[in-house]
Symmetry: C2
Subunit: 256 residues, 2 copies
């Protein structure tokens, strides 16, 4: 029975995709059958794992809007236990096409119904907005990871995301939990970073992952080779951090 984890934060460039790709890859490397589902029209997670999709092949868009079986969209990766449901630019249209649909928040839940039990983990990469695509993710997820970059603007965005979690929990998905807040791109030399890290850990005690993702050049380079960090540079600080995060997520799952 898959644990479905959404990676969400409407603020741009905070490490959602880097986290989705690398958490999924680390889970797969631990032999947990994992599906990475890309919900962002920019399809960064899809290309970050080197997945190329033919014009004619179905993607998450066709699954959400045309009801194509999600299983028909799945693409393999370099890791045996990791498959990808790819995004495409047409997803931009999904927000508008679904707007008048009274079941618009549940298209993803329906799409995942049939495939869910084939996996141990399903990781959902969300776009930088709290629109229909992200709400679809939050409506089907068991839990949410909120990556935040340790800078001033990140804190405002964090309260916004948590408000949205509460609303989705009340209206659409009572079982939705916060898996944790993940501090990303942590640069210990920056005063601002240390201040923000301290504030977040104090204000949200118990909700922040022990694991922190350091600012690490290798994490920026890996997607240009279409590889997760553990295949690109296993000894890097970035790889070690995402492996630590993976273990923390799996342990949390067992306490369940």
């Amino acid at each position: 029975m898959a644990r479905v984890i959404a990676i969400a934060n409407q603020k741009g460039g905070v490490g959602k995709t880097t986290t989705a790709v690398n958490l999924a890859a680390c889970l797969a490397a631990a032999d947990l059958k994992t599906l990475l589902l890309d919900l962002d029209p920019q399809a960064n997670a899809t290309s970050g794992l080197g997945v190329r999709v033919d014009e004619s092949a179905p993607t998450v868009y066709e699954s959400l809007v045309d009801g194509v079986d999600l299983a028909d969209t799945l693409q393999p990766t370099e890791l045996d236990s990791l498959v990808v449901a790819p995004a495409s630019y047409e997803l931009v249209g999904a927000e508008l096409e679904l707007v008048n649909d009274e079941h618009r928040s549940f298209h993803l839940r329906n799409a995942l119904e049939a495939t869910r039990d084939r996996f141990d983990y399903i990781v959902l990469d969300c776009p930088p907005s709290l629109g229909i695509l992200t709400v679809n993710a939050l409506s089907v997820a068991d839990s949410v990871i909120v990556p935040i970059q340790c800078e001033y603007l990140a804190l405002e965005g964090l309260s916004r995301v948590l408000q949205t979690l509460d609303r989705v929990r009340d209206a659409l998905n009572p079982a939705l939990e916060l898996e944790g807040i993940l501090l990303t791109m942590v640069d210990p030399r920056m005063n601002l970073t240390r201040q923000v890290v301290a504030d977040v850990r104090e204000h949200f005690a118990g909700k922040v992952f022990e694991a922190e993702i350091p600012r690490n050049v290798r994490l920026g380079e890996a997607p240009s080779f279409g590889k997760p960090i553990i295949l690109y540079d296993l000894r890097s600080a970035g790889a070690r951090a995402y492996l630590t995060l993976m273990r923390e997520v799996v342990r949390n799952g067992k306490k369940g």
Copy 2:
């Protein structure tokens, strides 16, 4: 007659707001009457200049959707020649509310009609998407600045933005020009950065600003004090870079 410049790129966290805030502030510091109009529901530009808006005060949302006069939304800043038309979270609703409006791309153009001539420059900060809010900005802008962070994923996003420019130019705004591509968060120690900078300058020769914005901790700190970089730390590398950008933009304007 104001020059209207949109700051756009659907990729998150590439420095749109930092560029909008600091270009606007530098123009104002040069005694050019400047309006910074915040089109992002996250309102980072608004808070980055220390502008607080009462619950009851009208914002860009009321101007776009309810037809409130834009002049009624304007808020002062610490710089005499800089005012802000603030965003608010309700703008999230604008995308959905305008979707069935056949003039949905022109609400901002209409809102700016009356106020345009009071300014020398109007700077529009766009959200990380190519949805209705960004299309409204591109429909009224004279030109667009596209900030890109020098990392692999940035290049894919860049072609996407330029495609959108072309489409808006053909369908909605024939006079729309590319003001320039702005390289941001440049860290000369990163190999990937140097490679991306070289590729962009070669591939888009003549369209890339001479000015480059370095990765500079002070630029990340300034918004937490609600100040543009020139008031926060005038001698920083970030301040010098945005002043250089401002001069380049003003020179381009004179060549017309």
